[in-house]
C-alpha cells in the first residue's frame, strides 16, 4: 500500500505532511488538541476533502477507496443505532453492501465472536457498558473486512482500566485480521503500546514533528507495559510532544519538517 499524503489549504490546518504506511502496519497519530490529527484521519477516510494534496490507498484515491468499501471507521463515540440490537448494528455495513444473507450472518457472528460479545447478540446498545459499545463499533467496522481501519480516539471516553483491556484486545484483533490500522489518540502509553510507528504532531498548522519506530516485540502483553524499552519509548514520544527530540531515538524521520 502506497500512502503518500499531503494536506494544506486556505486555513493551513495541516501543512507539509507526507507519510507512507506499509500494509499490516499499526500507525498512531498523537499530538495536542487542534493539531489536526482527526482532520488528517478524516481526509484519509474521505469524510472531508483537502484543498490541496492527495491520499492514495492501494493505488486508489481516497474517494475510490471509500466507494470500494476499503475503510472501517471507529469514532470516539460508538455511534450505535439504539433501535438495532448488537447483531443488527454489526450487520449494518453488510446490509448496505448487499452481502448475501448466509455470508452476512456468518460474518456478523464471526465479528461478534472476535470482540467477545457472543452472549450479547440480542442486546440493545443501552443495555451495554461504554467499553462493550465500543467493541460493537469495532466489530461493525471490521465486518466489511476493510483494508484500512481508521480509529479516531476510540477509547478516549473510557476509563483507564477498560482502555488498557481494550488495547490488548485491539492488538489481538489486529494480529488475527492483519488489517492496517491508523489510530488517533491523546494517550502516549496507548500509542506506544499499540503501534508499530507513532507519528508525533504539533499544532497550528498541524505538522509531523517526529516519527518514532516502536520496536517492542510482538505479541505485546501486560508485561510489555512494564518493560524498560516501553518506558524509553514513552519518554521519547513525550519529549517529541514537548518539542525536544529524544536523543535515544533511532527513529527514521520520514516526515518533512516545517514546509512554510
Amino acid at each position: 500500500m502506497l500512502f503518500p499524503l499531503t494536506g494544506g489549504g486556505s486555513t493551513r490546518a495541516l501543512d507539509g505532511i507526507s507519510l507512507t504506511i506499509q500494509p499490516g502496519e499499526f500507525v498512531s497519530l498523537i499530538g495536542p488538541s487542534g493539531c489536526g490529527k482527526s482532520t488528517l484521519l478524516r481526509i484519509v477516510g474521505d469524510l472531508i476533502r483537502p484543498t490541496s494534496g492527495h491520499v492514495e490507498v492501494n493505488g486508489k484515491t481516497a474517494q475510490q477507496a471509500r466507494l470500494d468499501r476499503d475503510y472501517g471507521m471507529v469514532f470516539q463515540a460508538p455511534v450505535l443505532f439504539d433501535w438495532r440490537t448488537v447483531e443488527a448494528n454489526v450487520r449494518l455495513p453488510l446490509e448496505v453492501m448487499r452481502t448475501q444473507r448466509g455470508e452476512r450472518d456468518r460474518r456478523v457472528r464471526e465479528m461478534i465472536e472476535l470482540v467477545e460479545l457472543g452472549g450479547f447478540l440480542r442486546h440493545y446498545p443501552h443495555q451495554l457498558s461504554g467499553g462493550m459499545q465500543q467493541r460493537v463499533a469495532i466489530a461493525r467496522a471490521l465486518a466489511l473486512q476493510p483494508a484500512l481501519l481508521l480509529m479516531d480516539e476510540p477509547f478516549g471516553a473510557l476509563d483507564e482500566m477498560t482502555r488498557e483491556r481494550l488495547n490488548t484486545e485491539v492488538l489481538r484483533i489486529w494480529t488475527q485480521t492483519r488489517t492496517t490500522v491508523i489510530f488517533v489518540t491523546h494517550s502516549i502509553p496507548e500509542a506506544v503500546f499499540l503501534s508499530t510507528r507513532v507519528v508525533v504532531m504539533s499544532a497550528r498548522p498541524g505538522r509531523f514533528t517526529n516519527i518514532v519506530e516502536i520496536d517492542l516485540p510482538q505479541p505485546r502483553t501486560d508485561q510489555t507495559r512494564e518493560s524498560e524499552r516501553y518506558f524509553e519509548l514513552v519518554t521519547e514520544v513525550r519529549e517529541s510532544l514537548r518539542g525536544r527530540r529524544g536523543d535515544t531515538s533511532d527513529a527514521r524521520l520520514r516526515a518533512e519538517g516545517p514546509a512554510g
Binding site: G45, R66, M73, F75, V79, D82, W83, V96, Y124, L144
Partner: protein, 269 residues
C-alpha cells in the same frame, strides 16, 4: 442461584407495587372527584352540573342513539387523523429532502400551528358540504397536519451527524440513509405527533359538528341537549366523546410500544 431466585421473586412483587404506586393515586383522586361531585351536585347546582348518577342514567336511556353518534364522530375524527397524518408525513418527506422546501414550509408550518385554525370550521363546512362527514374530517385533518409535518421533518433531519459520516464511510446511497438512519430516527417523533394528533382530531371533528351538520353526531347531541335544558344528556355526550378519544389514544400508544419495542428501555431509563 439463590440470589437469582430471590431477585426474580422480588421483581414480581415489585411489579404489583410499581403498578399500584403508579395507577393507585390517580385512581383514588378520580374516584374522590366523582364522589364529591355526586354529593355537591345533589344540592342546588343540579341543573347545570348534574350528578354523575344522573349522567349515567341519561347515558343508559339514550344508549342506542349515543352509540350511533359516537361511531359517526369517531369515524370523522379517525378519517381526519388519517388524512392529516398522511398529508403531514408526505410534506415532511419532501421538506426533509429538499432544503429549499424546508426553508419555505417549516416557518409557515410553525406559524400556522400558532393560528386558531378552528376558526376555519364554518368555511370548511361550506366548502365540503355541511352534511358531508368529509367537512368534519377536513377540520380534524387540518389540526393534525401541522404537528405531524413539523415533528416528522425534525425526526428526518435531526440525525446524529456521526451516523451520517458512518453511512458515508460505507458508501451508502441516499435511499439507504433514508431507510436505515432517517426513518428509524423519525419514528419516535412521528408517534409523539400522532398522539397529539389523535387528541386534536376529536377536537376538530366536534368543533366541525358544532357549526352544523347531521344530527346524530356527538357535537350536535351536546348542542341540542343543552338548548333543550338536558344537561344530563349533554354531559353524557361529552363523557362518551372523551372515552372515544382516550380509546383512540391508547390504541396509538399501544402501536407505538410495539413498533418502538427495543428502544423503550433507552427512553424510559
Amino acid at each position: 442461584m439463590t440470589a437469582a431466585v430471590h431477585r426474580s421473586s422480588q421483581t414480581t412483587g415489585s411489579t404489583v407495587v410499581n403498578w399500584l404506586s403508579r395507577y393507585g393515586p390517580p385512581a383514588i383522586v378520580f374516584l374522590g372527584v366523582i364522589v364529591i361531585w355526586e354529593l355537591v351536585a345533589a344540592g342546588s347546582g343540579r341543573r347545570v352540573i348534574p350528578p354523575p348518577s344522573a349522567i349515567a342514567d341519561a347515558l343508559l336511556a339514550n344508549a342506542d342513539m349515543l352509540r350511533r353518534s359516537t361511531l359517526a364522530t369517531f369515524y370523522e375524527a379517525v378519517g381526519g387523523l388519517v388524512i392529516g397524518t398522511a398529508a403531514g408525513v408526505a410534506v415532511a418527506f419532501g421538506s426533509a429532502r429538499w432544503v429549499t422546501a424546508r426553508a419555505l414550509l417549516l416557518p409557515v408550518g410553525i406559524a400556522a400551528s400558532a393560528v386558531p385554525i378552528i376558526a376555519l370550521a364554518p368555511i370548511l363546512n361550506n366548502w365540503f358540504g355541511v352534511l358531508n362527514p368529509l367537512s368534519k374530517m377536513m377540520m380534524a385533518a387540518l389540526l393534525v397536519f401541522f404537528p405531524v409535518m413539523i415533528n416528522v421533518t425534525r425526526g428526518l433531519v435531526e440525525v446524529q451527524p456521526a451516523s451520517l459520516e458512518l453511512m458515508r464511510s460505507y458508501a451508502a446511497g441516499e435511499v439507504d440513509v433514508l431507510r436505515k438512519v432517517r426513518i428509524p430516527n423519525m419514528l419516535p417523533f412521528f408517534f409523539t405527533a400522532l398522539k397529539i394528533g389523535t387528541t386534536l382530531s376529536f377536537i376538530g371533528a366536534l368543533v366541525g359538528e358544532y357549526f352544523g351538520g347531521t344530527s346524530e353526531v356527538l357535537g350536535r347531541i351536546v348542542l341540542t341537549a343543552m338548548s333543550g335544558g338536558r344537561f344530563d344528556l349533554a354531559w353524557a355526550g361529552i363523557l362518551i366523546g372523551s372515552i372515544a378519544a382516550i380509546v383512540a389514544y391508547l390504541v396509538v400508544s399501544l402501536v407505538e410500544r410495539m413498533v418502538l419495542r427495543g428502544r423503550f428501555g433507552a427512553r424510559t431509563e
